[in-house]
């Protein structure tokens, strides 16, 4: 899979779902709980994103645009 708009669009969906989760938890409990969930999701997102970029870069490395 290429590093293009479609790949970035998936991140819109992921961040949208995460935002919906934080909003729901905040409305059901307190802003502090929502903030903590948001922090956990941001850290998880960073780890997942790093692995995602690493994998994409490896996949792109096996191709050559000039051939």
């Amino acid at each position: 899979m290429k590093l293009n708009e479609a790949a970035v669009f998936k991140w819109v969906v992921i961040v949208g779902i995460a935002a919906a989760a934080v909003i729901t938890v905040t409305l059901l409990t307190r802003p502090l709980i929502g903030s903590l969930l948001g922090l956990v999701l941001v850290i998880a997102g960073c780890i997942y994103g790093y692995r995602w970029i690493e994998q994409k870069w490896r996949e792109l490395g096996s191709k050559d645009l000039h051939t």
Partner: protein
């Protein structure tokens, strides 16, 4: 004199960076927008750091400070509008990948209209908020964060305008290299959308 002639001759035959300096992994337009987005994330990061500093370290008795209130419902509706625009730009790109030019035009026009609506509602919100950037640190950081994002939406709308005009003039094709003029604004638009989700949750909800 001779060296000047050689330089002119060299300039005539050489356009762009030498092939050896181009990545074979990713085209330079996509790499350029991705690096630009990384720098933009850092810029937004600085603003978020200021926001959390004011909110957590300064620790005012209430947030937003009394008597200010934020129109959460209106901002929530605006969020839905902007998220929808990511789906329409994705539809536009999927259409051109399949060779559907009408789908491309429809998707681009819909995205532009949704983005313009978002910006209009935000400006309308500013007019009716009842506080300005001069009112406390809360006012300053609120207008800074949302205004920074609004400026990005404006730039995105300009990029989409160019892409839409080109689409109506018959540019772009199904081949990947033939629709980079939509792909790059599309990536930027998704970034603007993601940043708004973070701004909305941070400023309006938490």
């Amino acid at each position: 004199m001779e060296s000047a002639t050689v330089a002119v001759s060299h300039a005539d035959h050489h356009h762009g960076p030498p092939e050896a300096n181009q990545s074979s992994r990713i085209d330079r337009q996509t790499l350029g927008i991705l690096l630009f987005i990384v720098s933009e994330v850092m810029l937004f990061g600085a603003f978020f750091a200021s926001y959390f500093f004011l909110r957590v370290v300064v620790d005012p008795p209430s947030w937003p400070p009394h008597p200010y209130e934020l129109p959460v419902a209106v901002a929530g509706m605006n969020t839905a509008i902007l998220v929808s625009s990511s789906f329409t730009i994705h539809y536009a790109l999927e259409s051109i990948r399949r060779g559907n030019r009408n789908g491309l035009k429809l998707g681009l026009v819909a995205t532009w209209l949704l983005g313009a609506t978002f910006l209009f509602i935000q400006i309308n919100e500013y007019v009716h908020l009842g506080f300005s950037a001069r009112d406390l640190s809360f006012g300053s950081i609120f207008y800074s964060l949302t205004g920074l994002h609004g400026a990005h939406v404006f730039v995105g709308l300009m990029l989409l305008s160019f892409a839409t005009i080109r689409a109506f003039r018959g540019h772009f094709g199904p081949e990947e290299k033939d629709h980079l003029g939509v792909e790059v604004p599309g990536i930027y638009w998704h970034f603007v959308d993601i940043m708004w989700l973070v701004v909305f949750v941070t400023v309006y909800v938490l």
